[in-house]
């Protein structure tokens, strides 16, 4: 029997159902795991996504032919049964389950297992074949519990205040920024944000999310108001003249890449918080094992190492797959690259 999903130039293709999942070239029918730009591209004639993804897609891709589903709801395309399940990566992020002639495949998209309170609690789906990301697929990536990292961030902010400095937290506008704001929910102070983050936050609040509002920083925002405050900014803003207003300040970067000292040092930042929206090594392994999949395709990240490990340890028959995911994802590149790209996006 042919594979339910094949890996084509345009992306992950399901021939039986005649649709693509997260295609990187325009197609007729696209199923979207989540709204990050490397997974949700413009130009498709039809989009199927989780209902929480829709407002973000509208903000980023404009008005298109969107159809939404709830988690666990089944719909059919040709005779392929499709359902979306929480992936825990960002708001609306979903794994996509396909069932056809007793064969079950699951596409993970990007995922994390720790419940961040806004992205939905990751659900393990039993399947025959599992297509998993591997952004942090090396055993050097083992995350601390998020509460410990949140405490670190809050302590850092307090130390900055004592030293008369503002705290500039660098976080990607979609996903990480909402999570960092979640971490600061208990603190009562006003939180300021870059326009890109403000826009997203407003979109989500308008869509009915109970999130901390942030104050947008505009050219008119007086410098005095920003003294010793907390500012959330996307990576593109780091090192630009936009930051001058907050001086004196300290920069803290929230990214899984901060796990390795060199990445923080390269960017000359005061603090790195290894807070990631991706599964770490142990989570990837647990997930692969729990799905019970016999076959595993490993995409974007350390696919070679992770698939080799799965094979050698007889956890599954694994193969690495080249995709274009991660090329523009917030976390799959080395930080320097992202910085350059996002600068273009935001300036």
């Amino acid at each position: 029997m042919a594979n339910l999903i094949s890996f084509t130039d345009k992306g992950l293709f399901c021939e039986a159902g005649n649709f693509y999942i997260d295609p990187w070239q325009p197609v007729e029918r696209a199923l979207i795991t989540h709204a990050h730009s490397d997974h949700a591209k413009p130009g498709n004639q039809f989009y199927l996504c989780h209902k929480y993804s829709k407002p973000i897609l509208q903000l980023r891709l404009g008005n298109n032919n969107y159809q939404t589903v709830e988690w666990g709801e089944s719909i059919f395309m040709n005779s392929v049964k499709i359902s979306f399940h929480p992936a825990g990566h960002i708001i609306g992020s979903s794994q996509i389950r396909l069932e056809y002639k007793d064969e079950v495949w699951v596409v993970s998209g990007d995922y994390k297992r720790e419940d961040d309170g806004i992205s939905g609690k990751f659900e393990t789906i039993r399947c025959h074949t599992f297509i998993t990301e591997s952004t942090f697929g090396l055993p050097i990536y083992k995350w601390k519990p998020q509460q410990e990292i949140y405490d670190d961030i809050i302590n850092w902010i307090n130390t900055n205040k004592e030293n008369g400095k503002a705290s500039v937290l660098i976080a990607y506008s979609l996903g990480k920024a909402q999570r960092v704001l979640q971490a600061l929910k208990e603190t009562t102070q006003t939180i300021f944000a870059h326009g890109a983050i403000y826009n997203l936050q407003q979109t989500l609040i308008n869509a009915g999310w109970d999130l901390n509002p942030v104050v947008r920083i505009t050219p008119e925002t007086p410098k005095e108001l920003l003294k010793e405050t907390v500012v959330i900014a996307p990576p593109g803003a780091e090192g630009t003249s936009w930051m001058k207003k907050f001086y004196p300040y300290s920069i803290g970067v929230c990214s899984g890449w901060m796990q390795v000292r060199g990445n923080a040092r390269r960017r000359n930042v005061g603090a790195g918080f290894a807070l990631s929206d991706h599964a770490d090594w142990n989570s990837l392994l647990t997930t692969v094992k729990d799905t019970g999949a016999e076959k595993v395709f490993v995409t974007h990240g350390f696919q070679e190492a992770f698939s080799r490990y799965l094979n050698e340890k007889n956890i599954a028959i694994a193969a690495e797959v080249k995709t274009q995911f991660g090329d523009e994802d917030e976390e799959t590149n080395s930080p320097l690259e992202i910085k350059m790209k996002n600068r273009k996006m935001y300036e």
Partner: protein
């Protein structure tokens, strides 16, 4: 940030090792020298005395001999977390730092019992187990890992394996101590130099009032020059300046005190035993003297290329053949102490006059005066500078005749005026991930020139580009790699670079037959294609011209 670990109902006090781990974390995350200085000041004001001595020792190149090799540490780590060796290799090439790789891999190893020991405890223990068998070493290392948090594991591994590259110069350490103890930085620099052992030296002995009387080997801090950035004309009248050749050897200090001879390198390594040629000078030099000069191989008064000196560095036993082919001389250019008296505050002209009086009558090939270059105008000197390579010199040193001998790198009175480097255009063929702040980025490259229709590799280079350029090349490498050999990727030969280097020598170890000195990427030649690069014949031509 809270490093206190709760075990049962007991909260442990901060231990010496924890304080040191925090210091290292602060130093490596702060980007300003002033912040680093403040971290060090805070540390020296609060840490246990014995640990302070160790920190000074570590940051001034006096770490203990290595007790455990990396192969064993790697094996033990694999055993604990049960991963295959190749996966360790993948992790290492991504992290770019061995100690950190270990600490990250071991990060979820349960802390059995958090130990509350000082830095000195671990270092002395490491010295103690150096000669012990493998199982004793293993027991200590593995148990230590089980008693430490991640930051502590990291610094502990660093203590065993190598240097702390966290951007702290010895100068910063000296300034921090000066601030804490309220003594002048030059006095501190002198006190912490020389031959002392952190195991037997107390903080008070090292830095107290009476310190430094008895250590006859103690060198002075070196005075270093900056490269001249303006044209030499801006230096004014030529007769105010003394010009010398700049030698490509090891900067050294030769000391004779108490009828003993000591030779120090600028890296503050005691090198007396490495150069038996110098032994005779113990009888020929007057007592109570300190000389500044260059350790360099020379035949008939002419220096040999640095590659020749390299055959002598790091060797314990020196063969007759080496003594014959690469005899080491000391090209002396300054006098720092005479008759047990510190001469550094006297003007250069006076020091030079006395130096000549002492050295000229000696007539031994183990020591010679580094000559003063005669010149009447800056144009004159510029013309002479062009001939530096013929003399195996790197260019010219300019020193004000009335200059005193300062401490460290200072602007104004001394300048180096180096020759322009040699350059060659070539193509990148292999790339490897860098380390430290370049971890997980492809920044270490191997380059090739044309050899007929083939490409032949001839050098590696890591530096010279901006972060932005490195990021662009990293992007290219990740999308244009052809094969992977361990951490090395072969890359489509497309990116052309101009490599600058200071010298070229014949080498049997390299396929191309040449070895370059100080190669670095001087320009990314986006205007050139692989068709435009230089050839192996061009390299051989350079070898013929400059290789002797």
């Amino acid at each position: 940030m809270n490093e206190n670990i709760d075990i049962g109902n007991t909260t442990w006090e901060t231990s010496g090792l924890q304080m040191f781990a925090e210091l290292v974390t602060e130093l490596s995350s702060s980007t300003k020298t002033n912040d680093k200085l403040q971290s060090l000041v805070d540390y020296f004001a609060t840490a246990p005395d014995a640990d302070k001595v160790w920190v000074i020792a570590i940051f001034s190149g006096r770490r203990p001999r290595r007790a455990v090799n990396s192969r064993l540490m790697r094996e033990w780590c694999l055993e604990i977390i049960d991963i295959p060796d190749w996966l360790f290799g993948e992790c290492y090439s991504t992290v770019g730092d061995f100690s950190e790789t270990l600490a990250l891999l071991l990060s979820d190893v349960e802390i059995v019992k958090h130990q509350n020991e000082n830095l000195g405890f671990y270092l002395e223990k490491l010295i103690h187990i150096e000669k012990e068998n493998e199982s004793i070493k293993k027991k200590f290392i593995v148990e230590s890992w089980q008693q430490m948090n991640s930051k502590e594991k990291f610094v502990f591994n660093k203590l065993i394996t190598g240097s702390f590259r966290i951007g702290v110069s010895q100068k910063t350490i000296v300034n921090a101590l000066a601030k804490v103890l309220d003594i002048s930085p030059s006095a501190i620099a002198h006190k912490i130099s020389g031959n002392w052992d952190p195991v037997t030296t107390s903080f008070n002995e090292l830095l107290g009032e009476s310190a430094s009387i008895t250590d006859f080997s103690k060198p002075y801090p070196f005075y270093l020059a900056y490269a001249i950035d303006d044209s030499v004309e801006t230096l004014g009248e030529t007769n105010l300046w003394q010009a010398e050749w700049k030698w490509d050897g090891i900067r050294g200090q030769m000391i004779k005190r108490n009828n003993e001879l000591f030779v120090w390198s600028r890296g503050e390594e005691l090198m007396t035993e490495k150069f038996p040629e110098y032994f005779i000078l113990k009888d020929l030099l007057p007592d109570g003297i300190v000389l500044d000069g260059e350790i360099i191989p020379a035949v008939d008064g002419k220096p040999l290329p640095f590659a020749v000196l390299q055959t002598r560095i790091g060797r314990k036993n020196i063969s007759k053949k080496q003594l014959l082919e690469a005899p080491i001389s000391f090209f002396v250019y300054d006098l720092l102490e005479y008759n047990y008296e510190d001469w550094r505050e006297k003007p250069l002209s006076e020091r030079r006059k006395k130096l000549e009086e002492i050295i000229l009558p000696i007539h031994n090939k183990a020591i010679q005066l580094s000559p003063i270059i005669d010149f009447n105008s800056w144009d004159d000197l510029a013309a002479l500078r062009k001939k530096s390579r013929e003399k195996n010199s790197e260019g010219i040193m300019l020193k004000r005749k009335d200059s005193v001998y300062k401490v460290g790198r200072k602007r104004g009175d001394w300048w180096k005026w180096k020759i322009d480097p040699l350059t060659i255009d070539c193509v990148m063929v292999y790339a490897q991930k860098g380390s430290g702040r370049r971890s997980n980025l492809y920044t270490d490259y191997t380059f090739a020139v044309k050899d007929g229709d083939d490409l032949i590799t001839f050098t590696k280079a890591y530096s010279g580009l901006t972060d932005k350029e490195f990021a662009q090349i990293d992007y290219f490498v990740k999308r244009n790699s052809l094969e992977k050999f361990g951490p090395v990727r072969t890359v489509k030969p497309e990116l052309v670079f101009e490599i600058a280097f200071e010298g070229i020598a014949a080498s049997k170890r390299h396929k191309s037959g040449v070895a370059l000195r100080f190669p670095r990427m001087s320009r990314w030649r986006k205007d050139k294609t692989v068709g435009d690069i230089n050839t192996l014949d061009d390299l051989k031509e350079m070898l013929k011209m400059y290789g002797k």
